[in-house]
Assembly symmetry: D4
Homo-oligomer: 251 residues x 8
Amino acid sequence: MNSEAKQILEAVKNGAMSVDDALLKLKTEPFEDIGFAKVDLHRKLRQGQAEVIYGAGKTTEQIIGIIDAMKKNGQERILITRLSPEAAELLAKSHKLDYHENAKIGFVGDIPAPDGIGAIVVATGGTSDLPVAEEAALTAEFLGNKVTRLYDVGVAGLHRLLSHKEDIMTASVIIAIAGMEGALASVIGGLSDCPVIAVPTSVGYGASFGGLSALLSMLNSCASGVSVVNIDNGFGAGYLAGMINHMEAKK
Amino acid sequence: MNSEAKQILEAVKNGAMSVDDALLKLKTEPFEDIGFAKVDLHRKLRQGQAEVIYGAGKTTEQIIGIIDAMKKNGQERILITRLSPEAAELLAKSHKLDYHENAKIGFVGDIPAPDGIGAIVVATGGTSDLPVAEEAALTAEFLGNKVTRLYDVGVAGLHRLLSHKEDIMTASVIIAIAGMEGALASVIGGLSDCPVIAVPTSVGYGASFGGLSALLSMLNSCASGVSVVNIDNGFGAGYLAGMINHMEAKK
Amino acid sequence: MNSEAKQILEAVKNGAMSVDDALLKLKTEPFEDIGFAKVDLHRKLRQGQAEVIYGAGKTTEQIIGIIDAMKKNGQERILITRLSPEAAELLAKSHKLDYHENAKIGFVGDIPAPDGIGAIVVATGGTSDLPVAEEAALTAEFLGNKVTRLYDVGVAGLHRLLSHKEDIMTASVIIAIAGMEGALASVIGGLSDCPVIAVPTSVGYGASFGGLSALLSMLNSCASGVSVVNIDNGFGAGYLAGMINHMEAKK
Amino acid sequence: MNSEAKQILEAVKNGAMSVDDALLKLKTEPFEDIGFAKVDLHRKLRQGQAEVIYGAGKTTEQIIGIIDAMKKNGQERILITRLSPEAAELLAKSHKLDYHENAKIGFVGDIPAPDGIGAIVVATGGTSDLPVAEEAALTAEFLGNKVTRLYDVGVAGLHRLLSHKEDIMTASVIIAIAGMEGALASVIGGLSDCPVIAVPTSVGYGASFGGLSALLSMLNSCASGVSVVNIDNGFGAGYLAGMINHMEAKK
Amino acid sequence: MNSEAKQILEAVKNGAMSVDDALLKLKTEPFEDIGFAKVDLHRKLRQGQAEVIYGAGKTTEQIIGIIDAMKKNGQERILITRLSPEAAELLAKSHKLDYHENAKIGFVGDIPAPDGIGAIVVATGGTSDLPVAEEAALTAEFLGNKVTRLYDVGVAGLHRLLSHKEDIMTASVIIAIAGMEGALASVIGGLSDCPVIAVPTSVGYGASFGGLSALLSMLNSCASGVSVVNIDNGFGAGYLAGMINHMEAKK
Amino acid sequence: MNSEAKQILEAVKNGAMSVDDALLKLKTEPFEDIGFAKVDLHRKLRQGQAEVIYGAGKTTEQIIGIIDAMKKNGQERILITRLSPEAAELLAKSHKLDYHENAKIGFVGDIPAPDGIGAIVVATGGTSDLPVAEEAALTAEFLGNKVTRLYDVGVAGLHRLLSHKEDIMTASVIIAIAGMEGALASVIGGLSDCPVIAVPTSVGYGASFGGLSALLSMLNSCASGVSVVNIDNGFGAGYLAGMINHMEAKK
Amino acid sequence: MNSEAKQILEAVKNGAMSVDDALLKLKTEPFEDIGFAKVDLHRKLRQGQAEVIYGAGKTTEQIIGIIDAMKKNGQERILITRLSPEAAELLAKSHKLDYHENAKIGFVGDIPAPDGIGAIVVATGGTSDLPVAEEAALTAEFLGNKVTRLYDVGVAGLHRLLSHKEDIMTASVIIAIAGMEGALASVIGGLSDCPVIAVPTSVGYGASFGGLSALLSMLNSCASGVSVVNIDNGFGAGYLAGMINHMEAKK
Amino acid sequence: MNSEAKQILEAVKNGAMSVDDALLKLKTEPFEDIGFAKVDLHRKLRQGQAEVIYGAGKTTEQIIGIIDAMKKNGQERILITRLSPEAAELLAKSHKLDYHENAKIGFVGDIPAPDGIGAIVVATGGTSDLPVAEEAALTAEFLGNKVTRLYDVGVAGLHRLLSHKEDIMTASVIIAIAGMEGALASVIGGLSDCPVIAVPTSVGYGASFGGLSALLSMLNSCASGVSVVNIDNGFGAGYLAGMINHMEAKK
């Protein structure tokens, strides 16, 4: 309802548009034009800086089409998640792509220098949680955050975690990633005093039920400051962590 | 490992303590004294400012005992959650208590002036979510945050939510509280560009399965920036929101 | 965006309001005023005819307050669901109330003469499903529908159902209500050629798991034309049936 | 019990058949002949107009056999759902087939001109819901309905949905299709005043549990007029929507 | 379709009824009258011998009304299940009632002498399963079966079960009733060569989840000849056992 | 404890064995020899008549080995369930095998003439349930039962089922097999007065959850005389039905 | 098969009993008499030392009856679990009872001096787990074990746990008791090198689902040496711990 | 905090290190060096004797790398679990590997002579449980335990189990492994008086739900002395059994 709506009102004032026509126009304008529902992910990221494409369930052609359209609109930096190696290979033929196979993430454009409040710690319970962790870490880096990786620091070997206590205690935000019993989130939540984003993973077997065990465990964390995202949702955690780590820029 | 550990080392240096005695002492000191596991909730909150007692499963006598011990240690401001009206009545006989029956929260001491990054919006889908919402809101206020309440703005009546778009778009953090289908978190997540903490509630019947429906819905939110806490966990959401809203103070 | 928005535009045209003031006013008006989000249940029901209050979780005082406000606005007919006998007794002191204890439904005002496409059949598997069935039937009647009740026609005694085949085959819409194995919906769906709204109930024990068994059964119905509402949601079924039974009035 | 039963009775009257023989014959006639259980899907669709074959779990030979039998009986228009591309290719060799690979639907014969009450809107939360949506849309079109497609209008980007408010508010029936958190049904239910058929899809990962999350969310919708069909059941939704959209023809 | 249908046909033959009237009459007769759907529980039990009333969810008045109607129709023996002590006390004022409080079962009339193929063994894992066991045993006795009770012979004390091996090996049918891990059914199934009806009970705590553990265990029994009824469904097991134990009477 | 135990006792009597040696021998003999735990499936079936091998999880070599051992022991008739086509092909090279691919069942030896109480009806809801149904039917036939097949008589097309009412009402035992909503068991249970063994199948999609929906539905059947076996367990149902159908032979 | 069987064999040898009579007698003797299935809990505990009665679901009269019978048989020490305060009060009138209300455990007779391998540590995550912990601890003490209690050492405040590292590292067996996220078992499992018995408790709310969250978490523990008992099963853990702590006595 | 910490303290005493440097050094040393969190699995097993590598989710290269590093550190004996045949083949090229394909376990180095308290019995319900059983048995043997294998002794053929009663009654620890109904654990728990470790397996179909049925069954075991590990977790059971079987070595 900013410029466009103003123009309509000016036209009414000037007599260049009738009241009824204005009424109709205001009513039928795409909602996004009347000023508040700027809700696309693309919009959230700062304009001209970063866009995200969720690659799963899209053909390589569709992905390339979206990238081309974005670039035409001046978008220089694009993040593609859940991008298969095959799609990445095709994509690399037409675009300069920085592809991370483990995380299934591709970058078009350069990673910006980190500028948030502090460092985001990405910690995992085991080595099998790595793909999810890298999805989180690379997303955060792509969004301008410094990331410290603490991998394989599961609670069954507490000294591994405790030997990194400095990182944990000075982090701005921590992403705690674990499958199986998911206890990492609680232990880290108890050791730190910053927001902890818990990511259950589908790592495990038997009664882990595809990540359900870790999910329930994390939701029931008795540590304060812990919240949870969907199973294996590394992108979501990295995105949210980046958002929190840039809180100061808000005012 | 600050003052106390230093004293031990000094004593070793001075010959006032043998190496073996020092070794034993360092080994057996309560862990909290060697410097990093300052993990108690009490510690997290700034000293001398705020403490929290989880009242559920504690007798009134136990609660009073803890409060007395805290006050003796100079603690002026204490928050008690899940405090029953009966316990509150007893408690009020010996302490000046500000009790909020709906939220089952009691304050000892004064609420501080808010000083965070911005306002925390607490939004609910329906009026039945109010007790959880007040637990969140009062916790946040107790921790020094400005809180804006948007109650009964469920997605089935979208205009109610949209009429508060200014609050949503300018919030520092949003707590989205809903039972039943829990769609509020996704819609708010789409409208805002700040962290959204989703709280599923056990409000509903039939296939809501005690909050499971809302919980799953929120975990699967397709909006970015949304994370979830346990069903009915208003305190956890309020605490985390306050933590995020004070991020700037970190550096 | 009807009268009110028009007035604003007229005022702009006349110079009685500045463009900026109009912009602000249009922006801050409750959304419902700009013309499309007429989403309140109250609005859906034709104005001046019927309103619904969901009584569960509301105090009697709150319910009376809402009724008074409605009546002041000229609302003559009001439906209150999930109204406890105690609340009904209190309510009856100040308002003329037609209360149906079994269905926990109360009417203020008169039931209109039915005017839909045809009859809505409300069928139940057993006698224990009656409260849900009456909630559905009374809701439908309140909304101007003719209702035919077929109670206790569960599939284990097929002749009971088949002896009412005329009702089933000439129905406009059928509400099939059953707990336990919930097979009624499929059998009725197979016998009829009109929309069937299935309502699982929490009637049963053991492996009925509070209605889950009937719910899953109904969702998996191999009969076409069957859809499902929440467990015990008689109101929802009655409301939807009434909506479908008035389809012809749409054009 | 129409022609055939009448012939038996005539024969009894004429003495051409004994009472006992008639008794036996009436008793053993296929039930469908005595007049009420016209329950086959084929019967429901108007005779000579449309038949449906559920292709899943049938061999191509079986499908061809059924089609041949139908055509011999004068059936000109046949819909085959869940038809694999391989089966479609084979089928196309012997029959003129209009195949839609995305929806896995094939038509034999022509689509009729739409003649229902109004338009059926088929809306999806994301692009991955498209196969289910097309199954619904093509089914509805095959049954003589005008269909408006609103794809990728998920609630996390509310403006996308709101920009189509005219379609939503003027629809005869709406089919709301979504995976993940399934909030689309509630939001559309709140915006419209026509029956909404919600279709949860198995789109998602982690805690979406194969569509369970969307299913529960839709069942708990706080919007009135919403009912739910099985996960991924596009055909069921399209069929029911067509049935409702032809309500006026009933009288 | 026996006497009544015959009369219609005779009337047609005699010219006392027109073909069209006969057609209509045959079409509209209650289905039960045309000869096959004699499906009521009451019908299954041999006429004049036994009837069953499911007492749960019925008022004492309703139960008395049904009994009176039955007795007026010459029914001498009636079984009432899930009958509360309070209802039994009231009932006993007007009818001669043999009430078994533990099983919540009441008899009106005498138990017949047993006449089945052999003895039905009712075995339980523990003493807490007794109410379910007695419901099964009394039902079977009421239906004319000899019953042998083997209570508290759970598998954790195998010798208790093995000391009754003669009963188990000579039984006609065995009802195996157990909560918790429900292993009794498998062990008995392995020891016997007659049909075993397994009844899971809700006895247990924690991960027994209201009988789910025993139910799943019994469904997965690796012993042949075992089938399962609903949790706590003693009546169903007793009824089915009685049916099987009277198989010889069938020819 | 037949021949072998007798020989020991004779030896004691004759002085050929000391009491202590006899004690030891009796104590350490395989338990099966002391007379009661004749629990093997093989034993249950009458000796020299029929044996069953569960083929799943066994190599073809293992299966052939077992068959050879059986035949050496004079076993003429052997049933192999869950036998893959590949294994069957191999097996057919060395043994005369009658293989039914749909049911994945193979016979070695001839099927006996049926000799039970009456006919076993095997009914299915749809054509996709056929493999399970054939497993049940062939098992029953192999065990000497007459089997009547009623396939594709699901409740959504009730006339298909009702046209076979004679078979249903005269059956000795009925096996009701259905996936999806599993309502067939209840409807058949209501129409018949013989034991009904319900077999849920994993046929379906979405909220059928691999047969859970049908399983719960069947367990909650409101018809008497119905019991349930595991999902897809055609063999178990056929075996139990055969057992019941031979009850008369027991005395 | 000891004395009694020997007598039979002697009789056969002496000619005092025929071979056939002996055969029959050996066959029908209660199994417990032939020597191995001494499986009762009572038997497991050393004779004359300790017996256990599970009080839940038993009337006070039944409990007293069992105690009297035990005492008559010379049993001096009896443990009663799940004993309500009311039953305890009644029981105390006739027997010298040492009752622990929190644990709902009563002792008749004296606790023996501990004599196992080492100390059993009973650790809890929170204070609400205390009743379960005391049930475990008192059971272990009753069975002759030294018990060290570490209560309220949940992982969110790791220093509390770590300050007791000596107890944990020198324990013979550890019982780790926790509700909510149940992470305690993994952390303790990682710190210790002795068997850890994990007891999930039903402490928690929301997504703890009555202990399911802690149960799954513990089953998925990535620490070695951890096994799990049923939710809230303090007795089972205490009993097993005592058994392990007395392993040395075995040889 | 042993040698290294002592050296620091000595240096402080000698003046070779300042107090502040010592403070820093003590603070930043890896936690494992300050003396208590010696939690690695490797540590638990006696040094120089045995190490374990969990092969799942590791590349063959990673596994070889770890083995090389271990051997360089003097580790002679290494156990690799969940090792695929392909990886084993590669591994065997560079290391002397003893590979057990069924259990997916590989040994580097020799199995030690058994030296525990007694024999560990590994029992399975069926032959399909063999891979899990061998994982348990080989793990136990690798850790220096004598193992007795009792395979295919499921409860449906009780005599098979009972014929091995000597093994069961003299075992030091028993590992009871079963899928389907999982009753083996309870029956063995009732027959023995040593710790029983129950391992549910994913063997089964239908309502076994991937091992859930056996898991719940085992958790609800009414036998004392039974605890449970994760589904298919043969390694965990073998490891724990070995730990218990070496209890005597503790003092």
